[in-house]
């Protein structure tokens, strides 16, 4: 009881502050999520405004006689003549480990009905990206679990890798597979008591997606046991353009907390095309001048300031990293449209997914020729470098020669061998969705490919051979896989062990 009394007294004492100066204005016009306010002479750009009844807004347009503000929440309550006050604060969101496993909206309010969020701190939604001195080169891998990507287009912690393709080519699936794989790696490291492996926490930002799609993604993550390591930020298609505009920044702020506290985060922006569209709507309603394709002039700055916040920082500056996987949807494969070219020039590489490949059955439909990772093998463990180093080149040669494949028997033995090898590699890289492959299994299988164990397997049996080989490694030779994972390289001893293991398997394979 006495505690309660003390609490109330403290609160009353707190409320007895000296009368502070506030800045007020009057709403002159409201519509489409935007309010034009007269007065508010002391507003700062991006300042949070209080419209009363818990409604907040951001001051985006500071004009001579009025302020244009976007409203976060239900703007239908506002009337002309309502009073608006400045708060002197920037928009902030709750951050911390208490958000893991939760689904939140743009303001950090929970949407999953699992109770209030227990935050560690509040981070501003708009923040200047780490400077040059604070950064460290990217050298640690992010294992996506997708063989095509981990072998040929490896991603590192702190890199931005764009996933670009037409609709329904598997862009979100790559993101989900990566998140599931991170959760598996985290769990394995926890179970083994491994202190060296740094866990990666996932942040999935859904911008303008259908709510059924978002529910499906959450369902898949939950089933795979990845939700406890994931934070989902939702601004669905039925949310206002303001919410969709701010959602990626909320995600970036959440990721920055992990980066500042010595942890690694992976953030997936799904997708930035819809983000640009929402920003276009906000800009046009604010009567800002429009440019190419009616996008505002600063749509490049919109994405560059968002993606620059994903970085790897040095030990003195937080010792963490944020890896970003932005997703862009192209129309009819046109990567030279406005927004795709913008984001391609900002990111450190792209994974290009093609509809043709998808319908040919190559899934993930990664186009090896057009996909690139500017960090490359610096972000691969030595084992993968040893076995996968030549694969991209082999596939490039295969593509060049594929036209001659129709001439079958008329080619010399070397060309034939290249063609056969290329076909098998493509078969091997086909993978089921939501089933990421651990890096040690990948290294073992690719070692087998490099050492010609797949060459006499018929192309249509390659998948079966690969699956059974994987099972064989998991059930009969788990210590071999564990050794590869621990040493992160394939030494001569390991090479010999692999030789005996695969030789044994081949003899028993039917």
């Amino acid at each position: 009881m006495s505690n309660l009394l003390q609490e109330i007294e403290a609160k009353i004492a707190g409320a007895k502050v000296a009368t502070a100066k506030q800045n007020v204005g009057v709403v002159r016009e409201v519509g489409d999520g935007v309010a034009k306010i007269e007065g508010l002479t002391d507003t700062m750009l991006n300042e949070m405004l209080d419209f009363g009844n818990g409604l907040v807004g951001l001051a985006l347009n500071l004009e001579e006689t009025e302020v244009g503000a976007i409203i976060l929440g239900d703007y239908t309550q506002l009337k002309e003549g309502s009073e608006v006050r400045t708060t002197g604060k920037l928009l902030q969101v709750p951050v911390g480990k208490g958000l893991l496993g939760r689904v939140v909206n743009v303001l950090g309010q929970p949407l999953d009905g699992k109770g209030p969020i227990r935050e560690t701190a509040f981070y501003p939604v708009e923040k200047i990206a780490p400077g040059i001195v604070k950064r460290r080169p990217v050298s640690q891998p992010v294992q996506t679990g997708i063989m095509a990507i981990d072998a040929m287009i490896p991603i590192g912690r702190g890199q931005r890798e764009l996933i670009i393709g037409d609709r329904s080519t598997g862009k979100t699936t790559i993101g989900i597979d990566t998140m599931i794989n991170q959760a598996r790696i985290n769990k394995a490291a926890e179970a083994a008591g491994d202190r060296e492996t740094r866990p990666i926490y996932n942040i999935y930002v859904a911008i303008g997606q259908k709510q059924s799609n978002i529910a499906r993604v959450i369902g898949v993550l939950e089933e795979a046991g990845a939700l406890p390591y994931t934070i989902v930020v939702v601004a669905s298609a039925s949310d206002s353009a303001t919410n969709q505009y701010l959602a990626p920044f909320t995600g970036a702020a959440i990721g920055e907390w992990f980066m500042d506290n010595g942890m690694d985060a992976l953030i997936i922006y799904d997708d930035l095309s819809k983000h640009a569209v929402a920003y276009r709507q906000v800009s046009l309603v604010l009567k800002r001048p429009s440019g190419r394709e009616a996008y505002p002039g600063d749509v490049f700055y919109l994405h560059s300031r968002l993606l620059e916040r994903s970085a790897r920082v040095g030990e003195k500056y937080g010792n963490g990293s944020v890896t970003a996987l932005p997703i862009i949807e192209t129309q009819a494969g046109d990567v030279s449209a406005y927004i795709p070219t913008n984001v391609i020039s900002i990111t450190d590489g792209q994974i290009y997914l093609e509809t043709d490949l998808f319908y040919q059955g190559v899934r993930p439909a990664v186009s090896v020729g057009l996909s690139v990772s500017r960090v490359g093998s610096a972000a691969q463990i030595k084992a993968m470098k040893q076995v996968a180093g030549r694969i991209k080149g082999d596939l490039a040669q295969f593509r060049e020669l594929a036209a001659f494949a129709q001439f079958g028997s008329d080619l010399d033995a070397k060309t034939q061998a290249l063609l056969e090898r290329g076909k098998r590699i493509i078969e091997i890289f086909k993978q089921q969705q939501y089933d990421p492959v651990p890096v040690e299994s990948q290294a073992a299988i690719l070692w087998a490919v490099q050492n010609n164990y797949f060459d006499d397997v018929p192309v249509d049996k390659v998948k079966d051979f690969q699956a059974k080989l994987g099972q064989y490694f998991n059930t009969r030779k788990p210590e071999l896989l564990a050794k590869i994972l621990k040493e992160k390289a394939i030494s001569d001893a390991l090479s010999a062990e692999l030789k005996t293991a695969v030789g044994e398997f081949k003899q028993t394979y039917r």
């Binding site: 609160k11 409320a15 009368t19 506030q22 007065g39 006689t65």
Partner: protein, 130 residues
Amino acid sequence: MKISKQEQREARELFRSCLVNGVLDEGRARQAVNLLLELQPRGYVQILSRLHRLVKLNLAQRTARVENAVPLSPAQQAGLRASLEQHYGAGLEINYVTQPALIGGLRVQVGSDLYDGSVKNRLEKLQESF
């Protein structure tokens, strides 16, 4: 009728010319309005309405609205005027309004600046903090 960019610009220039040392000069403002009505240049109605809005906003910045639960005595009013003018400069127009709903204390709004020391506001803040 919608006002064009040209008319907006002209109204703004006209308004700026009515300012003397940053303060609106009434004589000049009247002169400007009469000139516009006399000469009737192209789009003068729109220019007039925009000028009206700019003058209204400027005057609002120079106007203080003092709300109190009970009417203030002349001595209190003089003291208040002195302290406000010290902060905002001379020539403030002060409107005194009696607002019993405030219960007690003073609520002063000068332009966009609000000093709300009323008991009603403090009670609301107390309620919010719980």
